[in-house]
Every structure is written in structure tokens, then in C-alpha cells.
Symmetry: C2
DNA sequence: TTGTATGCGTTATCAT
DNA sequence: ATGATAACGCATACAA
């Protein structure tokens, strides 16, 4: 690889001049400039980012920490992050934590060693994540939280209104006349908690003082957990007429379980998801609440850029984007047979 | 950030000694070693990777070039790459090209500037990709091709037997008695071409000399294209009894189109995908041929490590992994009405 | 308008 | 067994 020295020699100038023409950091006569550029071209010179980073103490790299690249929500936000970073000449380091504390801690070290300029964190609020965020912050590395736990409130955040997401989902089935609505909640997830809150609000508004939503708990946002709870859906107080799942992957699992139980969607049970990541692949198409993951990724990097370019201090900024209901075909009116014990005609 | 100098001062030794104890690069007395480690601990010292990279000419970073993070196949391989890289203390730079030549070219520059130690390329065989691969190679940067075009045959490759994938998919429906089999092919994709070849082989073996598969062409591996072709499935020679899609995303789109047309899977038409990425979310569960994307990612990094540690020259190595049929519920026996006028009982 | 020289934080060579 | 010091490739303060 040609170095700046080679270019300088070939162009018959000093390395300072070469640096100047490359970075436009000071005036340089037109003819020398062209000589330099010619040399650059001839030698196929590429500035060494490591050297530059060392000198400038900026690596032009950001990291994106995410719990799992297999949940389709994250590739979407990752793409947003990558697009924005690419446009701003930053590289993106992916850090897949699988929510394992050991990996998170290891990544904390790594990112510090790598001198990344900023970090976008998407993750449930594990203590390891809190430690990581604060550790980065202590070293002056900007952190933006994307759709994370509300407890990370001393950082810039790009959030979506989770309460509203839950509200929209529940409201949708209520609109269709459902009154026995179940919510499938993920334990220890603040996101899920907020979504549940929205569900509860919608029910309360629709039927003041009435029995609240039926809540079923699972351990994480996976299809497997959805399947598991789906198989047990009728165990507790009998089958609900509508189910709101804390996310789409759960909904997929639930749908599968219902299918295996011979219960059909939406004829017997209506189903709504949140995230709108898998809607198209479910038959019938899943009604879901879309979260603008891609935009959130872009926005997160925009914030990061702000902080990296000097806006050191100042109040933490929170941007909240809006979820949006995307109706599919998994919700319909409750049928007589599931509503009442009497006369079960097949209302075809 | 504390530097090696600070540590040296605090421990009352030279920086050479500190470096030695950190890297285990030479003997150092037990007591000084402990003093150094104490200082490291006290100052929370983290070696600067940029400086190290500059000196050693190795950045401990690899890049993963992929066409789109939204197709679930790629997150799977990305995870394999990331896992293996993480275990070997390498960071992963994601380079999402969207198969846009401009982005690919820009990434070529970037990777050279960043001095990545190796690159895993997953991509269709665009000329920009060829250029990138050879350019990296010219600079001595190891390249491993993961499931890419066969034309990149001067590089190490981790492939899957695409012909066999197609064969397995077709064989599956043939086993069920289907004789009118359509293949949905993606134009300009060598992967799709090989899969088609497998389909053709299976048909030829099953019905020598008979009319080959019905081939329908689309422009890329997306659900949208699948939907489009699905709506036109019966246009050409009438409805086939079974459809093999070049990948799962296409299958999802096809399934959706069929649903919209009132044609049910598998009662009216059997459907098989390839990749096994979305099987679980389709109802009925999609029968598909699994590609070991995760293992391929791991294997690719293993090869990369080999090349990065000295195995400079030598024949390009190709590893071929095996696809595997994963039956779902989207395939069944052809029904009388779609099959032949004469007597085929509905077996079971 | 351009060149010289220093230092960024490491590793590695050469001494001692 | 350990210390000085040069060099990695670049940006930049200071000279000229």
C-alpha cells in the first residue's frame, strides 16, 4: 500500500502538502494540487484510517449493539443505522449480544479498545447493558438508545410510544366488538410492559370498570414462547375472542399453536401482533402495529452525529416516533359460538 | 483514557515491559508482572487498537459484505460470521450493499482504507463484486466467498450444493406423486440457476424424456416478485400441481397470491421453498430445503483465519455443505381434479 | 503558498 | 530480566 510519503515523493512536495490537498485543510496552489492528485491516482493511494484515527482520536466507526440479529425488527433498525452511517462516512461494527452478560461485557472492552466514536444501543435493560452504557459515557463516547428500556434516561433516546402501540392493537380488536381480550406479555421487558399498559388503557376506556385484559406471561419474544403459550391459551378462564401479542414473533408462534389445536384465525380467535415484521408471511396476513425501525435507526445515527460533532453536553434528547396500525386479515368480528355458551351455529 | 505510558510510570517500569506482560511476548519477573497488572487494573487501562493496528498492520477487523440484511438468510450467516469472529477476537464490519454498484465501490475503498484483515463476501456475481474481490486480493487481503457466484473461483469458498437443493425440493413433490411441477427462477442469479438445474435433474430422473419443469421467471428473491408471479401462475399452460420456489421469500409471496386467488395450499397446489428461513411463519408450515447459513458463516471465518495466519498462497479451497429437506405441511398428494382424468385415488 | 518536525499509542529491535 | 528508542502513517503547529 502506498503511503502519503510515496505520494509526496512522486509529486515532489512535502507530506504536509499532500495531506492538505486530500483533506482540503489549507490552500494549495492549483498546479501543485493537480500534481498531487495525479500522484495519488498513479499510486492508487488510500489514506490509512488507522493512522488517521490514532492521530485524530476519531476512528470514524460506530457500533450497533443489538440483542439478536434473528428477530426481524433488528435487521430493520440495523439497516437504518447502516444507511445513515454510510452516508456520513462511518463504518458500523455489529455487536450481537444474545443478551448474554458475558458477551456484553466483552463488547464493552472491545468498543473502548477500538475507540469507536459512538454507539447505538438496542437492548433490553439488563444490568450489563446499563454498565456498558455508563462506561462508554464515562469515556466520553456518545451513546444513543434505540427503543431500549426507559431506565436509560440519561442518554439520548429514539423511542417509539410503546403504550400507544399496545393501545392501537387493543383498540383495533375492540373496534371489531371483542370484549374478551388477552395480552401475551414478556416478563421483565419494559417494552412489553408499556404495550400492556396501552392494552389496559384501551380496555378501560372501552369498558370502564370492567374486568381488565387477560394477561399471559412468557419469558421472551420468540416464536417458541408464542407456541408454548398458544397451546395453553384456553387453560386460563377459557379461550379469549382476541389475542394481542407483545410482538410479531410471539404472534407467529401463537398462530401456529392455534392451528395445531384446530382453532382458526380469525374465525375462532382474532390475533394482533406488534412490530409488523412478519405480517406478510402469515396466512391469514397478520394485523399488526408497525414500528418504524428503519427510521429509528437513521434517527439514532443523526443524534449520534450531533453529539460526536461537539454537542458534548446538554440535556439528553428523546425523540418519540409513532407506531401505526397495519390491518391484515387476522382480525374479524367475534363469532357467536365463542362469545356465548348457547347456540353455536357455524356463522360462515 | 490511560495509555501504556501511564501504566509504565505507575508501575515504575518501562513501556516495553508493560507491553511484554500484556502480550506475553517475553519473560518478565513475577513481581514486576504483578506490579504491572496492578497498575493496569488501577488505571483501567485498555490498549488502543488503532495504535496497535498501525504498528502491526493488522486491524483485528473483518468485513462482511452482504446484499441485504432484510432477507432472513443473511442475518443467519451474519450471526455465524459474528460468532466465529467474536471468539477469535475479531470485530465485524457490516457492509450492506443492496447490490448497488455505487455502494459496493464505495465499500471497496472503505475496506482498503480501514485495513480490514479479511472479508467474507456474500453476494450475487455483479461485476462490481468481482472488481472488489480482486482489488482486495491484489492488496493481499484474504477473501472468502460465502454462497456466492461460482465465477469467483479463484477464492476460498464456502458453498452449498445448490443443484442438490433444487433436486431435494423437486424430489419431495415428485415423491408425493406430482408430475406437473413449476420452478420459479430468478433471472441472472447463478444460485437460482443451479437450483433449477437440480429440479430439472430430479424430473428427468423421475420421468425420463418427458416434458421438463415449467419455468417461471422473476427478477429477484423478494416476496413482491413471488406475489407477482403467483398471480400469474395459471396463465402459462394452466396451474401446475406443485411449485418449487427458488427461495422462501418467493414462496411466501406465491402463497399469498394463491390465497388471494382462492387457491389453497396444499390442497390445490403444493409448494416448496428453499432456505428454510420462514417456514415456521407460514400457515401451513412451508416445506423447504434448509441451507446451513449459520454454519457457513462460521466456516467462512475459519477459512479466513487460516489465510490471515500465514497460509498466504495455495490452491483456493472450496467447502461444500449439504442442504437438507425440512418437510412442512405445504406439500401433499396431488388431487384428482388437478392431476389426471384417470383414476388416482387420494391415498390416505 | 509550502516545508519541517513532533506526536498520537503501540510493538519490536537493540542494548544493557 | 528490563530499558531506550525507532517506526508505523498520518495531521498539525510552527517556520519560512
Amino acid at each position: 500500500m502506498a503511503t502519503i510519503k510515496d505520494v509526496a515523493k512522486k509529486a515532489g512536495v512535502s507530506i504536509a502538502t499532500v495531506s492538505a490537498v486530500i483533506n482540503g485543510t489549507r490552500f494549495v496552489a492549483e498546479d501543485t494540487r493537480t500534481r498531487v492528485l495525479a500522484a495519488v491516482d498513479a499510486l492508487n493511494y488510500q489514506p490509512n484510517r488507522m493512522a488517521r484515527a490514532l492521530k485524530q482520536k476519531r476512528s470514524q466507526m460506530i457500533a450497533h449493539i443489538l440483542p439478536s440479529v434473528m428477530n426481524p425488527f433488528f435487521p430493520a433498525s440495523l439497516k437504518g443505522v447502516e444507511d445513515a452511517a454510510f452516508a456520513a462516512d462511518y463504518s458500523v461494527l455489529v455487536c450481537n449480544t444474545e443478551t448474554e452478560p458475558a458477551r456484553i461485557e466483552r463488547y464493552a472492552e472491545l468498543l473502548l479498545e477500538t475507540q469507536v466514536d459512538g454507539v447505538v444501543i438496542t437492548s433490553p435493560g439488563l444490568t450489563a447493558i446499563h454498565a456498558l452504557a455508563h462506561r462508554l459515557d464515562d469515556h466520553g463516547i456518545p451513546v444513543v438508545v434505540l427503543s431500549g428500556p426507559r431506565s436509560l434516561d440519561s442518554f439520548d433516546r429514539v423511542l417509539v410510544d410503546d403504550v400507544k402501540s399496545g393501545y392501537l392493537a387493543a383498540d383495533h380488536v375492540l373496534d371489531y366488538g371483542h370484549r374478551r381480550v388477552a395480552f401475551v406479555h414478556v416478563r421483565h421487558s419494559t417494552t412489553s410492559m408499556h404495550r400492556m399498559e396501552g392494552v389496559v388503557q384501551a380496555l378501560e376506556r372501552c369498558m370502564p370498570g370492567k374486568k381488565p385484559a387477560l394477561v399471559l406471561e412468557v419469558d421472551n419474544f420468540t416464536e417458541q414462547e408464542g407456541y408454548r403459550i398458544g397451546m395453553n391459551l384456553s387453560k386460563k378462564d377459557g379461550l379469549p375472542t382476541a389475542v394481542v401479542a407483545a410482538n410479531d414473533m410471539l404472534a407467529v408462534g401463537i398462530s401456529e399453536a392455534l392451528h395445531d389445536l384446530g382453532i382458526s384465525v380469525p374465525e375462532d380467535v382474532s390475533l394482533v401482533g406488534i412490530d409488523n415484521t412478519m405480517a406478510a408471511s402469515l396466512r391469514p396476513r397478520l394485523s399488526s402495529v408497525a414500528i418504524p425501525a428503519y427510521e429509528m435507526g437513521k434517527e439514532a445515527v443523526a443524534r449520534l452525529k450531533g453529539r460526536m460533532n461537539g454537542v458534548k453536553a446538554g440535556e439528553p434528547l428523546t425523540i418519540t416516533l409513532n407506531p401505526q396500525l397495519v390491518p391484515g386479515h387476522s382480525v374479524t368480528h367475534p363469532t357467536v359460538r365463542t362469545a356465548l355458551p348457547s347456540g353455536r351455529g357455524a356463522p360462515q
